[in-house]
């Protein structure tokens, strides 16, 4: 190995160790997955609706006299529990096997609890000819300790029997003030189901038979690939573009930010001139860029391994094409070299972190831009916009990765063209950064503006 390469390696190693082998970095690296795990474990308990219980009285004015009995059945706690069980089974049949097993292996009643407590609604039948205005007064009556008056349902006379040549009627609903939306939803659903049941009975139809006729089992989809078949991941594959983009963004930011701050630190502590007695500015910059690139790669690798382990445990490894991980590595290197080298140049040009913030603004916009564009690109991965932006550096790497992980990946030639464009951009950025780095490192005083940086690059 040549002396210069060895020196670059030494600088890279020192920068990597100084960043990655620190308590702060390790904690910072693990804190994100720790928070996600905590959110997954504790979140449902924190945000669970199981403690909520719709409870109170519903007054009904029913000129048809057949809706009220049906409504009583609808709010019957046992019938509600049975309906929930059937819905749950139907929903679980659609999710991947791993998640289904996880759901079914939970504590008995856990899933029931997750849906919240069964409403405790009592029906108060009012005379069919009762005055609605007077009955509304009932809603305003609140006796301490007594059940709350929740709503007044006024069933239309033609709600069950359709008038000749007309449409079915429905019902009017009057509610107590500040009624919880979930109670409102429970009441509306119960009344609707009661009217449907009454209409079926009036037509001498068996409601159960109708339900059977309407029910078509939705089978879990099977994905057929050139390598074989695998169960569909359902909507989970829509998460893939977001996951990959966040990984790329995080890796570039983690490496780039540390590169910038360590350069500023070396400059402000005046250690840089000591280093320049041993290595050239370009060797110093190359070493630092490589060292921090390793930091970003380590972070990405850690999260990828954790993600793969999670997918494996849910038997959902087929959700991703493992080749995408290789492309993630390629796009990371290109995006990091482009953004990271510019961050290194900024670090060399300024005297302190505060001065770097203003120069980082435009760069941050370029980094965050793809986040905002992730949804339109992944929904229409082959639109004109998505295609064009895949070749515009420095955001082409982000855009192309989103397209590749979408439901309609681009043709391979576009992927490699985007990589070639990214490589050219990276070389240009490193060239620019090397020029600025060489001059900026020994410049102190007023921080330069962007025009000055360009002048440095042209004069160096």
């Amino acid at each position: 190995m040549s002396s210069r390469l060895r020196k670059v390696g030494q600088i890279a190693l020192r920068d990597f160790v100084a960043t990655a082998v620190t308590r702060g970095f390790i904690i910072g690296l693990l804190i994100t997955p720790a928070f996600i795990t905590l959110f997954v474990l504790v979140g449902p308990r924190l945000f669970s609706q199981r403690n909520f219980k719709a409870q109170g009285q519903i007054a009904v004015i029913d000129p048809t006299s057949v809706v009220t009995p049906a409504l009583r059945d609808e709010v019957n706690p046992e019938l509600i529990a049975e309906r929930r069980r059937q819905n749950l089974e139907r929903n679980l049949s659609q999710v991947p096997a791993g998640m289904r097993q996880l759901a079914q292996s939970g504590a008995p009643g856990a899933l029931d609890a997750a849906f919240g407590q069964i409403p405790d609604l009592r029906i108060v039948e009012r005379p069919s000819a009762a005055d609605v205005q007077q009955e509304k007064e009932w809603l305003r009556q609140a006796e301490p300790g007594a059940e709350r008056h929740l709503a007044l349902v006024v069933v239309h006379a033609d709600a069950v029997m359709r008038p000749p040549g007309g449409q079915y009627g429905g019902y009017d609903l009057y509610e107590a003030p500040n009624l919880d939306d979930r109670v409102d939803a429970a009441i509306q659903q119960s009344v609707r189901q009661a009217i449907v049941a009454a209409r079926a009975r009036a037509q001498n139809l068996d409601r159960a038979q109708i339900d059977d006729v309407l029910a078509v089992e939705r089978p879990p989809a099977t994905v057929v690939t050139s390598e074989g078949e695998r169960p569909s991941a359902g909507g989970l594959n829509r998460l893939m573009p977001v996951v990959f983009m966040v990984l790329l963004f995080m890796g570039v930011m983690m490496g780039g930010q540390t590169l910038m701050t360590s350069t500023i630190e070396e400059k402000s502590s005046r250690v840089v001139e000591v280093l320049l007695s041993a290595v050239s500015p370009i060797e110093l910059m190359a070493g630092k860029i490589l060292g921090q690139m390793a930091v970003g790669l380590i972070a990405i690798a850690l999260y990828v391994v954790m993600g793969l382990a999670l997918l494996l445990s849910f038997a959902m490894l087929g959700l991703i094409d493992l080749w995408l991980l290789a492309y993630l590595g390629i796009f990371f290197v290109l995006a990091y070299l482009t953004m990271g080298s510019i961050m290194a140049a900024i670090g060399a040009a300024v005297n302190e972190l505060k001065e770097a913030q203003s120069m980082m603004g435009p760069l941050m916009l370029l980094m965050v831009g793809p986040m905002a564009l992730a949804a339109p690109i992944s929904q229409n991965p082959n639109s004109m916009f998505s295609t064009v932006i895949s070749f515009v550096p420095p955001i082409n790497t982000f855009a192309m990765l989103i397209r590749m992980t979408s439901s309609a990946p681009p043709p391979l030639w576009q992927v490699w063209l985007s990589i070639a464009v990214g490589a050219v951009a990276a070389v240009g950025a490193v060239w620019f950064a090397a020029k600025v780095f060489r001059i900026g490192l020994l410049m102190y005083g007023k921080p330069p503006d962007f025009a000055t940086l360009v002048r440095w690059a042209r004069s160096a």
Partner: protein, 318 residues
Amino acid sequence: MTTGAALSLHGVTKTFGDMKAVDRLDLTVPRGALYGVIGPNGAGKTTTIRIIMSILFADVGQVSVLGRASALDAKNRIGYLPEERGVYRKMRVAAFLSYMARLKDVAERDVAPRVARGLERVGLAGTERKRCEELSKGMLQKVQFLAAIIHEPDLLILDEPFSGLDPVSARQLRDLVLEEHRRGATILFSTHVMPHAEEICEHVVMIHRGRKVLDEPLGAIRRQFDPRTILFEPFDPAADVASLPRYPDVERVEATSGGYEIALRPGSDPATAMQRIAAAIAPARLELSRPRLEDVFLRIVGGDTAACVRDELRGEVA
């Protein structure tokens, strides 16, 4: 270019904006020499050294370092202690020195022994595991000096090495510099404090406003700028010193805080004059005043400039 010179500059010019930091500078430092570059702050010393080190590049002129056209090609043979020196504050002393040794291509098997030996040599044994930020300024300066010589360089360039040091640390550092010189290293160091140069230099280069104004061996300077002044203190404070100007060798006598300064006439022999003075008035102190670099510098730059830089040159001596 001088063949065999450790260092040579020819017609080197460097401009920053409208200011010429270095102006057509020629300099040749033979191998094994100990050169001092002196001049007030802003004279162009640091810029010259940075150009030698290829940290900055001359607008015009040629540089040769250890036979190479650029210091970049000979970095492993050059030791450099910059004026703006720093360390990785959180790094441990041994780790920092090992890192610098590796950057200077010291063989891996030699790194640890050299670090240990070096720390022992500068009296810092036992500080290997300390973080750099835990050391005092004097200790840190020794560590920085050690980082500059850890690879046993052929050429050692020190920019204001004694700046900010207390007298004891300055003396220790001076001894280390002389040790390196005895080892065979060519040494070039800059200072704006003339007495430091007087103490250790063999050869002095004076720079003023980017231009070289003097480039002579120290002995030659003393001869050339002989002030022909005798410092005299009578044994008897009441002695008749006022009679001395009547002697043929003496031009004038001026009272100073510690005695008298006797200026000799041109062409007179100082040895004869001293014998005559001693015979006339018993001396408590009688010595030939040696020219100070400070005085030499002030005589060369002359006029108003001299007044401006006088205080600066004396700055750290006072």
